[in-house]
Amino acid sequence: MIREKVRVKSFKINGIDVTGASNQTILEIAQENNIEISTLCYLKGLSCVGSCRMCIVEVKGSDKLIPSCTSKIKEGMEVTTDSARIKANREMILSMLFSERTHTCSVCVSNGNCELQDKSTELRLEHSQVPYGHARFEIDASHKNFVNDPNRCILCSRCIRVCDEIEGAHALDLMGRGMDTRIIHDMDEPWAESLSCTSCGKCVYVCPTGALYEKDISAEEAEKKRNIIMELLERKVEQ
């Protein structure tokens, strides 16, 4: 197997000169240089899929906005992370995430502890810019410990990735298309009947919203379990 040679690349983010290895992403270099880029589906320690599009940036010479978490750096590129155009697009992306499913914060288990909610505060989004779809999916509460409520899922795929890349079970995957897409267990079996699920709960604790949650647990216990998973991911990065 021929390995691609890693080279050092120099480029600019928001006019600041930065350097990085050619196999690194714009997001990684921005974070190394304390330049903030908004993210949602990204989770340090997991592979990047660019599913949410929240981390879009502008690159000089390109009309398109590109996701910084999956875009490798290039020599001489000029990246802008904050502009009126980016802000407008992020707001629209977030609006679409909210409108796609039924996110009723006031009655959600993750109210006050939700990354989607935090994002709307960060972007000061008070109302969705597109009409709500009022989607209604069946809740899967068959598992003795966990609940899967697709009505709150933003299809970030963190759960799929952590199950595959950290637990090594790959019990989860996506099914369907567009607004009907949802997270399934095995071949769309009820969670309790999934043969590949190890009931480790990693999927639950990387979920940014209240789509996956543990029954019968206090907020403090949940926080503790979340920290354990995050530590595992940190260790993976260090390796």
Partner: protein
């Protein structure tokens, strides 16, 4: 035939209109209250997980979310087969009583007391709490303070003043520590003072309103309420008891799970509010009343010293028989406020209240459960059916105000017949029709389930149901 429409009915919670029918001889032939909104909670709760129900159903109301959460968590307890620890039960009781205190205070001070201070014939610009702040600043302040105290207890013990999230299946999320308990106890004496002064004010002013007392919903009806094992006042738990207007016991020791055997639910045209009735007597003869008046009529005693003292005077109003005058809902409400404060004090002083407040479990043991409690406005039922995973299949809610629907209609008709003169409809007469509704302190946004956005009106209709005049209140 003429028709008067009062729309909206003011100083109540929710939206309603009243229609008054005038016959060919210019006499009031009928009057009805129409609840013009629809909510649909029973339907959209289907498919949700049971643990979501306390938070979801609490959103039925911004005034009495605690009552819905209490009935809901009690139903969830049954689904899970869990009994909360004593501290959890005590804290739930305190939170429920604090809810009753703050809601009753809102009803008496903020909504109804302007009628008592300025009279039913005063100009409408003067019948409100803002005028009260100018002329009776201490009384207005006291009302606001007392409500704030109730809300503070809810916030302290359950997390938030409105829609608290600390009430959960299995108990209460947060244990109570001694320091917090002492902070709350320190405010009890002032709350009792305000409550007693309110009672004194009301009793002193009663003589001014003899005509209203005699004509505001005075009719025989059944009364229903929860009572404890000693037949005393009970708001959190207990068994259902139903008495008739003479005080004879029709049913007692009824477990709330059996409510469907005794309570039927009729639907009337022109209103989204259900009309529950006592099944053995049929519809509409099985009209019954719930709420403070019914609770004091049904209970033998309150179980706290000061409130029991007041209850003696209350029971003497009709020589020991049930008090039938709906105007006395206000009186009963004031006695319950005093009771609530005394009971909160007793529960806070109970050492068991400081223990572990929550048993956690999530295994569904039953697929049907009924949660029942006494909300400020009366008996509240939450009836859930779930599958083996706890997903809600069916919901039936009987909201406190709904129980009083038939009685409110009977009361509106009586007041309209007494005070409304079809040839000269005065502001005072219309205000009295609304004031009758206020006696019941209905929470219509709670009790109906609405797509409507129309607020309430009074309609004057002729004998062919043609509208002669509509009195719009906004």
């Amino acid at each position: 035939m003429k028709k008067i429409i009062i729309d909206p009915v003011t100083r109540i919670e929710g939206h309603a209109k009243i229609t008054i029918d005038i016959d060919a001889d210019n006499r009031v032939s009928d009057a009805k209250i129409h609840v013009t909104q629809f909510r649909g909670f029973e339907k959209f709760c289907e498919g949700q997980i049971y643990s979501q129900m306390p938070a979801l159903t609490a959103r039925t109301c911004g005034i009495c979310p605690v009552s819905h959460a209490i009935s809901s968590i009690k139903a969830c307890d049954t689904l899970l087969g869990v009994t909360p620890p004593q501290a959890g039960i005590n804290l739930r009781k305190i939170i429920n009583l604090a809810q009753i205190l703050q809601s009753h205070t809102l009803s008496f001070y903020h909504l109804s007391s302007p009628d008592f201070i300025y009279g039913f014939d005063a100009k409408k610009e003067e019948r409100n709490i803002f005028k009260m702040m100018q002329t009776h600043p201490q009384m207005a302040k006291d009302g606001i303070m007392l409500r704030a105290f109730g809300q503070k207890i809810i916030q302290t013990l359950a997390g938030k003043r409105i829609h608290p999230d600390g009430l959960v299946p299995g108990g209460v999320e947060k244990n109570l520590d001694e320091a917090t308990r002492d902070t709350l106890l320190a405010e009890i004496p002032n709350a009792i003072r305000i409550s007693q002064e309110s009672l004194a004010f009301f009793k002193t002013n009663l003589t001014k309103f003899q005509k209203e007392i005699d004509s505001f919903g005075v009719f025989p009806s059944l009364f229903m309420a929860l009572v404890d094992e000693h037949d005393n006042l009970e708001h959190y738990d207990g068994k259902l008891k139903i008495i008739d207007s003479e005080g004879n016991v029709l049913q007692e020791h009824i477990s709330p799970e059996e409510y469907k055997e005794f309570i039927g639910e009729a639907v009337e045209e022109e209103s989204y509010l259900k009309s529950p009735y006592y099944k053995p007597m049929g519809y509409p003869q099985g009209m019954y009343r719930v709420g403070p008046l019914a609770r004091l009529n049904v209970a033998k005693a309150c179980g706290t010293a000061r409130a029991d003292n007041e209850l003696l005077a209350f029971k003497a109003l009709n020589a020991g028989k049930p008090v039938l005058n709906s105007f006395y809902y206000h009186y009963a409400r004031l006695i319950e406020m005093l009771y609530a404060i005394e009971k909160i004090e007793a529960l806070l002083k109970d050492e068991a209240t400081l223990g572990e407040a929550l048993h956690r479990t999530s295994k569904i043991l039953k697929t049907r459960a009924v949660g029942c409690s006494e909300a400020p406005r009366g008996t509240l039922f939450h009836d859930y059916e779930v599958d083996k995973n706890g997903i809600i299949q069916k919901v039936n809610l009987i909201i406190a105000t709904g129980n009083n629907n038939l009685a409110m209609n009977a009361g509106v008709k009586q007041v309209a017949q007494t005070f409304v003169n079809a040839e000269d409809v005065t502001e005072g007469a219309l205000n009295r029709v609304e004031a009758l509704i206020r006696c019941f302190d209905p929470c219509l946004s709670c009790s109906t389930h609405a797509l409507g956005i129309v607020s309430s009106n009074i309609e004057l209709r002729d004998h062919n149901k043609n509208i002669i005049q509509i009195f719009k209140r906004n």
